[in-house]
């Protein structure tokens, strides 16, 4: 399986996922190209409804169908196109070489099985472990995600654990088979602030220990700043800006990215000397029906909009190195 391959570990190339709606098909992901190197950390940011979760589900081969289907492009994982892989092969990959944790720890675990069983199950599925060995390993994993008294806790049911503890269990399940990629979809959005910090610390520590690559999905630029090396900013199913975290935070090109940064208090203070004036981006993310139109979908909310923006779609253009943005009138200078 792990033949040597060249290039990034995971590479989305012009990936397009379409949803069938009442008014025809719309691209919920629109020619998305993202690269992820082995062991790297990538932040995927954007407001709610921009297609971040759909990107994650596409990589997992779990796009709900109907209404969704792959409509173009590829997902290369270790040089193999997952959009063409058989279901059986995808099942061998899921939970094994690519795993995912979800936003809702309260509902992501099955209420009728013990947490020990829910971890052991994935070990039995992908690694040649018997019941006993899998259970022992599950207890070790509970220990490694800092759950106290893991031997006893393994017998607990999800309802006996707090949200933070449940998310730790989800992390244990996701990391059980030492995946090459971990996708964390807003893993702390449902948790309170102190627990959030603990979960991020844990993810950081586990990443250093296991060398797994992480795709962290969030709507919070502040989290990205702390956790990842590179960022992809998504808007309405498209990538609108991409680059190293430091470059993007210090010099965002796309007005949308600027807006996201401006809405995070401490970040704004760090990168600018101006007095804090926090800005919510006016307006809302377009509904799915508007996705895919040949224009800048951010135009109705953009302070720099021109006629061109409303009639022509801006393509990603680089300003040297890795930093790219899709905007007709990119901004220069600090945020």
């Amino acid at each position: 399986m792990s033949e040597p391959h060249s290039g990034p570990l995971l590479s989305l190339r012009d990936l397009t996922v379409e949803f069938a709606t009442r008014d025809g098909t719309v691209p919920v992901l629109d020619r998305l190209s993202i690269d992820l190197d082995a062991g790297a950390t990538l932040g995927l940011v954007g407001e709610s409804g921009c297609g971040k979760s759909m990107t994650a589900l596409a990589i997992m081969g779990l796009v709900p169908s109907p209404p969704g289907r792959f409509a173009g492009g590829s997902i290369l994982f270790a040089d193999e196109d997952l959009t063409r892989a058989s279901d059986a092969h995808l099942r061998d990959i899921r939970g094994n070489s690519i795993s995912m944790i979800f936003q809702e720890p309260m509902t992501s675990l099955n209420p009728v099985y013990t947490i020990g069983e829910q971890i052991a199950e994935v070990l039995r599925r992908h690694q040649d472990l018997g019941r006993r060995a899998a259970w022992e390993r599950a207890v070790e994993l509970l220990d490694s995600v800092s759950i106290p008294l893991p031997g006893r806790r393994a017998h607990d049911y999800p309802h006996q654990l707090s949200g933070g503890m449940r998310q730790r269990v989800m992390i244990a399940i996701a990391l059980a088979c030492r995946p090459r990629i971990l996708i964390a979809d807003e893993p702390t959005t449902a948790l309170d602030v102190t627990v959030q910090a603990q979960i991020f610390d844990l993810l950081q520590a586990l990443r250093e220990e296991t060398g797994t690559a992480i795709i962290l999905i969030t709507h919070d630029m502040g989290v990205v700043a702390e956790m990842t090396e590179r960022v992809v900013v998504m808007y309405a199913g498209r990538m609108v800006e991409e680059g190293p975290v430091r470059d993007i935070l210090s010099e965002p090109h796309h007005p949308y990215t600027r807006g996201l940064i401006a809405s995070v208090p401490h970040l704004h203070a760090e990168v600018s000397d101006e007095p804090e004036d926090l800005l919510e981006i006016p307006g809302i993310v377009p509904s799915l029906a508007e996705f895919g139109q040949e224009r800048c979908l951010f135009a109705p909310r953009c302070p720099r909009v021109s006629d061109r923006c409303r009639s022509e779609q801006p393509l990603l253009r680089g300003s040297g190195g890795w930093h790219k943005a899709a905007c007709w009138h990119p901004e220069a200078g600090p945020a």
Binding site: M60, L62, L90, R91, D92, I93, R94, G95, N96, S99, M100, F102, E104, T107, S108, L109, N110, P111, V112, E121, V122, R125, H126, Y157, H159, Q160, M170, I173
Partner: protein, 327 residues
């Protein structure tokens, strides 16, 4: 709370309930028009007031209501349900004689309906716009709206007269000779049509319920987690989803078991199945008060026990309501 405390507490409640139901039944039957004296007089081709009064004295029907009630409860406390005027046999003896036939019919129909209904519901839920899914909906509607005696009679016409493959009535064929194995086969042979008839009402309910419940569960986050683990479709559906979807099915099964006698009356009557249902029908027609009371008492006992069992089964399936767990 341990299982024992639960049993004691629910048992106490059940006893009080049983007593209340008993008093109610007794009052109702006492005030219903006609009594056993009328039946006997009818059988004799008429009797004068003198004879009627004598019969009522013999059976203690002339005493005041509260005395009769107290006497009945007193005997019941000693496990005596009284004597059936009509069948000339102790009520308890008759109940126990007829119970196995009804249990066999109702249990087999329930098991058939639960298993088949759940499987149909699950398959329908996995393809909510498929042919089978619509089929289940239509079938459920038909099964639910068709009166059970009609279904029974149609089956009799179809399988006993047009294609004479099944017996019309009864539970055994006295002419069949052979060992226990042959006799068992004979009973199963007689059981088939009444079982299918009775199951048809339940089947519609169970398949519809299982479909709805399964559709809910298939959309949950933990089912997506199971898929994200790379588990097979079979494991996702039958290990992770089904067990969560079973709750409503178990609840319904509990409710259905409660109606063990009432559900069986019509089917047993149509197929002359020698169970409690036929017994109830006969004793009501004969104004056999002790027999009717005995059957009603037994039915309430079944309801209470069925509810208790449902709770226990429920707690086995779902740890969140497991007795003795916090949370």
């Amino acid at each position: 709370m341990s299982v024992l405390t639960l049993l004691v507490r629910r048992g106490g409640n059940g006893l009080a309930l049983l007593l209340a139901v008993l008093v109610l039944n007794f009052t109702l039957i006492h005030n219903a028009p006609g009594d056993v004296a009328d039946t006997i007089a009818g059988d004799m081709g008429g009797a004068d007031a003198e004879v009627m009064a004598q019969i009522r004295r013999d059976y203690g029907l002339d005493r005041p209501f509260h005395e009769q009630l107290l006497a009945y409860v007193g005997k019941l406390a000693r496990g005596d349900l009284g004597y059936s005027f009509f069948f000339n046999q102790p009520v308890t003896e008759l109940l126990l004689e007829r119970l196995p036939a009804t249990l066999l019919l109702v249990l087999s129909a329930q098991v058939l309906a639960i298993m088949l209904g759940t499987v149909l519901g699950v398959i329908a839920a996995r393809h909510p716009n498929g042919l089978l899914s619509h089929g289940v909906t239509i079938f459920a509607l038909l099964g639910f709206s068709a009166p059970v005696f009609w279904t029974g009679i149609m089956l009799i016409i179809l399988f006993c007269s047009i294609f004479p493959v099944f017996p019309v009535a009864g539970m055994i064929d006295v002419t069949v000779e052979g060992g226990w194995f042959v006799k068992t086969l004979d009973v199963l042979y007689h059981l088939f049509l009444p079982m299918v008839t009775l199951a048809s009402i339940f089947l519609a309910l169970y398949s519809r319920l299982a479909r709805a419940s399964m559709l809910d569960v298939l959309g949950t986050d933990y089912v997506r987690t199971a898929q994200a683990k790379g588990l097979s479709e079979f494991q996702v559906v039958y290990k992770h989803a089904l067990r969560n979807a079973l709750g409503p099915v178990v609840t319904l099964a509990g409710l259905q078991f409660s109606g063990i006698v009432s559900g069986a009356v019509l089917v047993e009557t149509v197929f002359s199945w020698p169970g409690l249902g036929t017994l109830a029908f006969q004793s009501i027609t004969a104004r056999d008060a002790p027999m009717v009371l005995g059957i009603l008492f037994f039915s309430s006992l079944v309801v209470i026990v069925a509810n208790l069992v449902t709770d226990l089964v429920y707690s086995l399936i779902d740890p969140r309501i497991r007795i003795g767990h916090r949370g």
